[in-house]
Symmetry: C2
Subunit: 350 residues, 2 copies
């Protein structure tokens, strides 16, 4: 019995991965003291604290995540909830990189929680909340009245949304100012003499759909241009659909002489549709498009682009959730990213 006890103590020094017990053994202190010393608790003597922290660093102690999680309920995990079929183009990776960048400096891990078209978007959120699998959540494709945001608010799960809601509740978000984007886009087209503008909008359910539409409408009346309706299709539609609808539209009597496109991939389809109709970009019609990587000007030099930085969005979202988890006021964790200058094509120096 006594022998067993001694054996147990001694094991601590020889084990594979150091634990609090190892540190306690090495320093001659109790595990409690070691635990507290590592988190700078005030009731630990200054010298003891330094000594423990030194030894911990020396032997490369890292707290066991399962132990912490089991005891405290804190997971040190942020979950990024993604729709696996919609978000087609690359911006997902940018967001992930942005989030990672911020989390890298923290003990947090990033887990990706997917859901697909067949599922209720609420389902992965419920899972996360019910199982307590994350300390914070980031969602995208935010809706004006977003059941996911409501659910998490009700259940006390910190989160940040990519895009704003419109439910009269306050929560962290990061958004790109799509209202401003649409205004700038229209102004630019107007300044080139374009007067009949079409908008390829975001999908109607999402909040930034109306932001974009409002900006578009505001700017239209400001510059005295008119809208050619193009609302049978959105950036969520397939490339083929957008292309053929654009071609249809461009073959009509009353066709637009300017396009505003909310997504880069869709812009490729718009341009293809324009050319299918036998028209020429830059001569018959101009197109302003959002893009997240600087590739559109290679596609057609005549394209006008506005950059949206998704990596930045990822970082901001991560900072926001962490802030909320850390106790900051949700209202102070909201940010809006303004569109960069509308950029015309510039040939790079050789």
């Amino acid at each position: 019995m006594d022998k067993q006890r001694r054996d147990k103590k001694e094991e601590a020094s020889t084990q594979g991965r150091p634990t609090l017990k190892t540190l306690a053994f090495m320093t001659g202190l109790g595990v409690t003291t070691v635990s507290r010393a590592l988190k700078d608790a005030p009731e630990i003597g200054a010298e003891t604290r330094r000594r423990v922290q030194l030894v911990a660093k020396q032997i490369g102690y890292r707290p066991n995540r399962a132990g912490v999680r089991l005891r405290t309920g804190r997971t040190n995990v942020i979950s990024l909830v993604l729709n696996t079929d919609r978000e087609i183009m690359s911006f997902v990776s940018d967001i992930i990189y942005g989030v990672s960048e911020v989390l890298a400096e923290t003990p947090y891990h990033l887990i990706v929680t997917p859901y697909s078209r067949s599922q209720d978007p609420l389902e992965p959120i419920r899972y996360l909340v019910e199982t307590g699998s994350a300390d914070g959540v980031i969602i995208s494709r935010t809706q004006p009245n977003d059941p996911r945001a409501r659910y998490m608010l009700e259940h006390g799960m910190p989160f940040a949304t990519h895009g704003r809601t419109d439910m009269g509740v306050v929560h962290p978000y990061h958004d790109f100012d799509n209202h401003a984007f649409a205004i700038e886009a229209v102004r630019r087209l107007a300044s080139m003499g374009r007067r009949k503008l079409a908008l390829l909008s975001p999908p109607p359910g999402l909040t930034y759909y109306s932001h974009t539409l409002n900006g578009f409408a505001d700017a239209l009346s400001e510059v005295g241009a008119s809208e050619i309706p193009f609302n049978t299709v959105s950036i969520d539609h397939s490339i083929e659909q957008i292309r053929s609808r654009t071609a249809q539209l461009m073959r009509r009597e009353n066709r637009p002489d300017g396009f505003v496109s909310s997504a880069a991939a869709a812009t490729l389809a718009i341009v293809a549709g324009i050319e299918d109709a036998g028209l020429k970009l830059g001569r018959d019609v101009d197109v302003v498009s959002k893009q997240s990587s600087d590739l559109l000007h290679l596609f057609r030099p005549e394209l006008l682009v506005v950059n949206e930085n998704f990596r930045l969005a990822g970082s901001e979202l991560a900072r926001s959730v962490l802030g909320w988890i850390g106790g900051a006021a949700p209202g102070s964790l909201q940010s809006l990213s303004l569109p960069g200058e509308v950029q015309a094509y510039q040939r790079p120096a050789d």
Copy 2:
């Protein structure tokens, strides 16, 4: 003392989230029995087993991950290790989706572990192994002699590589057959009468660099075409660099009349460079490019494309690691994806 015991027991029924203790209380069994009944242990009576599983399903019992992890060391986590600055285009999201798709049917979570140019690529791997943060790892940008693969083999961490190694050791991988891609590409160019071909290769350090080069060389001699060296640049270089080098090359006396490009984004730059030099795609030169999403034909109809399915790669990689974790022979968990047909442009039906 006795009172306390009773209180403790009763708490089990009223708690927020059901645990084994809750189930034990409800069924009148011991926690051990419940635990075993849930995992179909043979020493549990058939009726008891069914009863426990029924109740568990009814009240929505889900094992506490922290508990399992602490006790068993199993994390139920697969880590996807990503370089945050290199992998520029969108294929990262496809891989993630592919992995997610497979993991969704399992208790596994996907965590994304990033590393950046400044870091030793081995560092995140060491972290994962030392802290036991994952049961399996997926890596990309695989090298012929890959220190990460070696390290994980030595430390008994199951993994799968995107791309093969060449170290004389066997481990799970998924790879796209870049040798076959290069051959098909060259053949296609040759069949169009192209005789002087340039290759924009993958970055030299990676395994598929030589696969691509070998395929290219093999096919060149097969069809009797010659190579115009273009090895001052690779798909890892910036768009601007590739563009200006291409333009330089195309202004030379002895310029290529065909390109093989290993990445879609780079192809945009190649075409831009060609046009910078005043030449025309399809007339003066043809280009065969890999692509992961079907957008290149919108860019220039004359482009010849070969599709690489990264979503499939993700799924295969996930299946491979899971297989290894499940005890399958690593040698049986290798797969190679053949390039689809070289696709010429087809105008979609309106």
